[in-house]
């Protein structure tokens, strides 16, 4: 496909380039200017809502109701962060989210997906591609289709108002991450497994001792994504958790909003909402900044090599 540029053409090109270089530079700077203008406009539109969130969190009611709104409240009421979190049961919500939901789910999804993906990537067996296709195809099934029967099943099992309906299915692997890990496994040379097989290693041994340590970065991506999904999830806890004491943070924030129904109905409604929103976003920001490269690689990988 690639057309090789021969030396004479390049030379001719260079001459031509010099001739129009002045006009070119001008156009070049014009384009660069417009580009940065667009980049900055977009950046501002992405950042401003969060800036608004963080600064609104430290307002008092008088500052909230000032028209036009103040962007940087002076004095800043930093105590709102502490008060909002502790006046309401956010320590409890945090505990529920992390220890009852995110951590068990992350452990289950990561181990099970790593295990299953191995069967789809590193072992050749008849029917594998068909099963793999079925696995990927299930991603197309909307959650809403299985939502009602699953609710009925879990209700009969007495699992309502527990995190079991949200966590247990994770221990069977998640098609999305199975797919993603399979892509990672496929990049490892087959010789690794073959050599180990000749040495008499069992398949389980190859999986645990050779392959798994090599895909550690991918496992971290899976764990990170799963944890974040649990942290952000709203619909499933909404269906299964209806005791306030068991709420995860996402439901907790909405609970706070409902308590404070409308602006003005309660003191500091909006600052408190913005405070807890900021605090709940913070771990995500930190996790993202520390793992940015892995994170973005993980996303592009699932998207790319279908």
């Amino acid at each position: 496909m690639a057309i090789r540029t021969s030396a004479p053409t390049q030379l001719g090109n260079a001459v031509q380039e010099r001739a129009i270089s002045r006009q070119d530079t001008l156009a070049h700077w014009g384009i660069q200017f417009v580009k940065y203008l667009v980049l900055i406009f977009l950046s501002v539109s992405f950042i401003l809502p969060f800036f608004w969130m963080v600064t609104s969190a430290v307002k008092n009611d008088a500052q909230v109701f000032t028209i036009p709104p103040v962007w940087i409240p002076i004095p800043a009421h930093w105590e709102n962060y502490w008060n909002a979190w502790n006046t309401y049961n956010f320590n409890g919500y945090l505990f529920n989210t992390v220890f009852l939901y995110a951590i068990p789910l992350t452990i289950g999804v990561t181990i099970a997906s790593a295990f299953v993906a191995y069967g789809f990537a590193r072992v050749r067996w008849p029917g594998r591609d068909l099963f793999f296709f079925a696995c990927v195809a299930t991603m197309m099934i909307p959650y809403q289709v299985t939502m009602v029967p699953l609710f009925i099943t879990f209700k009969n099992l007495g699992w309502i108002n527990s995190y079991l309906p949200l966590v247990i299915p994770g221990f069977f692997g998640s098609p999305y991450f199975i797919f993603m890990l399979r892509q990672f496994y496929m990049t490892l040379p087959q010789e690794l497994s073959d050599a180990a097989r000749i040495d008499g290693a069992s398949e389980l041994g190859i999986f645990g001792r050779i392959i798994l340590p090599l895909v550690k970065p991918a496992l971290i991506v899976v764990a990170l994504f799963t944890f974040m999904n649990a942290w952000n999830e709203y619909l499933q806890p909404l269906i299964y958790i209806n005791q306030e004491a068991l709420y995860p943070v996402s439901l907790g924030i909405n609970n706070l909003r409902q308590t404070m129904a409308q602006i003005g109905s309660q003191k500091l409604a909006y600052p408190y909402l913005m405070s807890v929103s900021t605090l709940v976003t913070l771990p995500i920001v930190i996790a993202f900044f520390f793992t940015q490269r892995t994170f973005i690689e993980g996303i592009s990988l699932t998207g790319l090599k279908g």
Partner: protein
């Protein structure tokens, strides 16, 4: 003799062993598939032909749920319209926006990774936080956006408070959080061989020609991927509208999954909700098939 047996069975003993090993490894998923997908999938088909409120036993009603949905429920058509509006405009616009942002980031600019981080960021923020922030931002009286508009001498826009503007507002917020698609596009753009552009430059192609004839065709597989993923999730869009507008005003943002959730867990019409779910499922499958069919005309799979 041994060869004959093998032929009849179709598998050699090594293949049998591999099959066992393979099935052993995928067994968690296989079990999960039966418990959490296969069984509920057909169970919901079963319930869709029943009246069931969780308290009394399910009663067979035949096609009554479906008939009621299509002929005797005006909300359904409003909901279908809302959903098609959101999916039809929001998803392509989101993909186009993500693609343009990635293209911009892929040009010669300083601080690319900083801009990429900023552009990506809204995508990882919890939906509940996005909803809270935008609700405040778009507030007619105290919100920052309307204050800005007023400051510039423009009229106040009642974004999510107005039935006509609520859907476009949600599409705007959807476009704002396109980080995932953008990152995927950016990775694709960086994989387009330089030699293609160099060759085109030699042939005298300008930037637009190169974008039109190299960049876009090379990205079509990923455009398709992002469209498919976007449509599948677009049809199931729940959290943001549920929290931001609650389906209002005047049912203007009552999307399919909100309506379904309401029927199932607020009205406890499990049968009708199951019927709705199956209609959604069939629509998504048909839509995806159509998209893949059409892709033969516009998706370019490598020059090899």
């Amino acid at each position: 003799m041994a060869a004959l047996t093998q032929k009849r069975r179709g598998f050699t003993s090594a293949q049998w062993r591999d099959l066992r090993t393979g099935l052993f490894f995928i067994s968690p998923w296989l079990l999960g598939f039966f418990f959490w997908t296969f069984y509920p999938l057909f169970s919901s088909l079963y319930y869709s032909f029943h009246r069931y409120d969780l308290l009394r036993p399910a009663v067979w009603v035949g096609l009554k749920n479906y008939v009621e949905i299509f002929t005797n429920d005006p909300t359904f058509w409003q909901v279908a319209y809302n959903t098609i509006y959101f999916v039809g405009f929001g998803i392509p616009l989101g993909v186009i926006g993500a693609f343009l942002m990635a293209t911009l980031l892929n040009t010669e600019i300083k601080g690319r990774s900083v801009f990429r981080t900023i552009f990506f960021f809204p995508a990882i923020v919890p939906a509940i936080v996005t909803a809270m922030v935008w609700q405040y931002l778009l507030n007619v009286q105290y919100g920052a956006i309307n204050a800005f508009l007023q400051g510039a001498g423009l009229p106040v826009i009642p974004f999510i408070a107005n039935p006509g503007l609520a859907k476009p507002s949600l599409i705007l917020i959807h476009m704002w959080a396109q980080g995932n698609a953008m990152v995927i596009f950016l990775a694709t753009l960086q994989d387009v061989p330089r030699s293609l552009y160099e060759a085109a430059t030699v042939d005298g192609a300008n930037a637009w020609h190169k974008f039109r004839n190299i960049t876009i065709p090379m990205c079509t597989p990923v455009i398709l991927f992002n469209l498919v993923i976007g449509f599948i999730y677009g049809f199931q869009n729940f959290t943001l509208p549920w929290l931001l507008t609650g389906g209002g005003p005047n049912n203007a943002t009552e999307f399919y999954s909100l309506f379904l959730y309401r029927n199932a867990f607020i009205f406890f019409r499990m049968g009708k909700a199951s019927a709705l779910a199956w209609i959604l499922f069939i629509v998504i499958v048909l839509f995806t098939i159509l998209l893949f069919r059409s892709s033969r005309r516009w998706v370019y799979y490598g020059g090899e």
